[in-house]
Subunit: 171 residues, 2 copies
DNA sequence: TGATTATATCTTGACGTCAAGATAAATGGA
DNA sequence: TCCATTTATCTTGACGTCAAGATATAATCA
């Protein structure tokens, strides 16, 4: 017990044997983050599925919900918040519209644009889903103390800022 | 300056306004990790692309390379290391075989199986790619001190272990 | 030995995503 | 006013992934 190793440790050990010239410390951090992210996605999807949603549809509905009344945004605004391409957003909106969770109306003030709004059903559904989603996230972080969680958040924030700055993304 | 906010902070602020009943601290941590992961993937892909690879093909070739001589594994072993489904692996191997980076031969000791091996070209390519990949990872972590990196790794390890145990995945 | 069960891999069909390009409407000068 | 440019969104085609099921071989056991 203790000092237990995981798959990432075994990968790093292999590299150190085969390529002792490389310092794979960073690979460990990045690899562990990737694995964790995948695992978390699977767990989050479980709850989404209980509401007939997936990560993509949840993302759009949640963005509309938290934007506040009248729970309506343009596709462009949704694209900015969710950081997907316009093609992806068109596809997501098609599905959500067909499911009766949103409406898509032409913007009377700009003939090029649309206004995407939550339906009553969409509102109820996302409000319930978010409640369960947040509870699920709490469960997934039970393994860390609040101090550790705060520390982790600080480090991730710093890292994210650094990489964003370096690559000119986000804002 | 200082105390700067990012997109995640703005999302959390919206939730706190619209749903003050929810504690979204955990959402912040998970969200920031997701964004960071996406950003990192984009940056890693840049280097993969320089070698005509993507994350999927790099993953397979790297697994074969670090397994050591004779740089050969079964599809099942590759599936276990890379944690993808068999259908995904078949697809990846088809592409790599067509590109001349691996060979796929029937296993003489088990008629159901195959032996996937790096070609000479595949070996050279992945060895060069890994060198650049590791340098790229170093660059992406320049924003953190080695102390911070170590701290982060420890927290991620603990979190990963907790979630893995909770969900019975990984090993 | 023959039948059942387990294993290794491939096949198929559906998804969500992206890049690139097509439309159509709005904007900014000349 | 008219044309060139920009903006908002949709369309198309290609990818990588997964779940479910199809095959074929191996292992087990009655």
């Amino acid at each position: 017990m203790e000092n237990s190793t995981d798959k990432i440790d075994r990968i790093l050990a292999q590299w150190r044997r085969e390529r002792p010239d490389l310092d794979v410390t960073q690979m460990g951090v990045i690899g562990r983050m990737g694995r964790l992210r995948n695992l978390l996605m699977i767990e989050l999807d479980r709850v989404f599925k209980q509401h007939d949603l997936n990560g993509a549809s949840f993302d759009v509905l949640a963005t509309l919900r938290r934007s506040g009344p009248p729970y309506a945004l343009s596709p462009s605004q949704l694209i900015e918040w969710t950081m997907v391409t316009s093609g992806t957003m068109t596809n997501r909106l098609d599905k959500l519209e067909e499911a009766g969770l949103i409406t898509r109306q032409r913007n009377p003030e700009d003939g090029r644009g649309f206004v995407v709004a939550l339906t009553a059903h969409g509102f109820e559904l996302i409000d319930a889903a978010v409640t369960n989603h947040v509870a699920n996230q709490h469960r997934l972080l039970e393994g860390l103390s609040s101090d550790e969680m705060e520390q982790l958040d600080g480090l991730l924030r710093k890292w994210l800022m650094a990489v964003s700055g370096q690559t000119g993304s986000d804002k």
